[in-house]
Symmetry: C2
Subunit: 231 residues, 2 copies
Amino acid sequence: MKVAILGGTGDQGLGLAMRFAMNEANEVIIGSRKEEKAIEAAKEAMERLSTVQSKDTKNISINAMTNLDAAKEADVVLLSLPFEYTISTLKDLKDALKGKIVVSLMVPLASAFGDKPTRVITCPQGSVAEMVQAYLPESTVVSGFHNVCHKCLCDLENPINCDVLIAGDDKEANKTVVELANTINGVNGIDCGKLEISRYIEQITPLLVQLNIKYKAKGTGLRITGLEGKL
Amino acid sequence: MKVAILGGTGDQGLGLAMRFAMNEANEVIIGSRKEEKAIEAAKEAMERLSTVQSKDTKNISINAMTNLDAAKEADVVLLSLPFEYTISTLKDLKDALKGKIVVSLMVPLASAFGDKPTRVITCPQGSVAEMVQAYLPESTVVSGFHNVCHKCLCDLENPINCDVLIAGDDKEANKTVVELANTINGVNGIDCGKLEISRYIEQITPLLVQLNIKYKAKGTGLRITGLEGKL
């Protein structure tokens, strides 16, 4: 799958880029506002990947482009943007994202406005993913990858102990994103149904942030139980 | 622990009553608006418990009282009420609940008002638990037990595959409720911190309801990962 991560220079984006790149099913592009920042991040990712003992990393490559070029190039475009800059970033990308699967990773943490990361603000549409879909009516928005901690993503020697909860109004697009999630070692992609379910998925992140702080944990995650044999 | 379950005749309340009663550390009281309904529920619970093969059920007993008497009698009082009747039920119990640990199990599912159980309404205080605390300023409110499915609770032969997330502003009270949760076979009680965190805990239930419907699952639950050795 040709997948771009816009805002791929951040912790979460870079971690996902490396994890996707570790699976030969994926072609990965890191996008950034400035091309040189994307190139720098891709270089860092390649260096970190070269240290992975358990994997033949000879043939892994990660491309680097501006957000706009990455959006044009990829089939699936992940948005890993600071929540407060979501809409302003999308302004220039709207046309390039037409007809594409756009995956919304943002969580409306109140830290974006100087309050705590254990609090959220409420988007008028109910969730960030619904806000993005409203702004990009000609794209297919899928919500996912909010709850996988970046430290775990970057700990490349170990599998991820977290499910990736996915929501969206287009069943085929959800299926594609579940498949993408499942290319990460240890991850279980779960299609949760309609995009509005993203309200609950996004709000799991502040709970995990709270547990990370309270228990000084590297990175908490979650597993859904009771779906054995049903996915 | 002497624990009362008000609204203990409902599915969730009855399931919890049976599970608590299976551990000899607990004395269980089922409360109901009408005493005869509580007696009926306790009888049903005792009958179901007598069928459990894996357990010596000779000495298990469950008491039955009106909600008011149960509130007076117990040390820890669980509220397992229909969300929309929470405040009207508490009106007569306010005095009896003074100085007690009151555990809020309610989730503000929109089904209370004829909409879907995969949607929630927003309480003015942010969560039901915070609403209950505001109404009972002289009680210590702890939020918990929202996400354990009643079908799993009633399937007495099998352990529960779900964590119980707990939140409250009084650390000692949280600890007590974590201990109570841990008396249930398979459950892992997790203190998540301040009562306001209940906002996120309560909103996991509509997500699990959605997964139950989508995948025709008996009962989904969740496990928090990344806290191994830290609880």
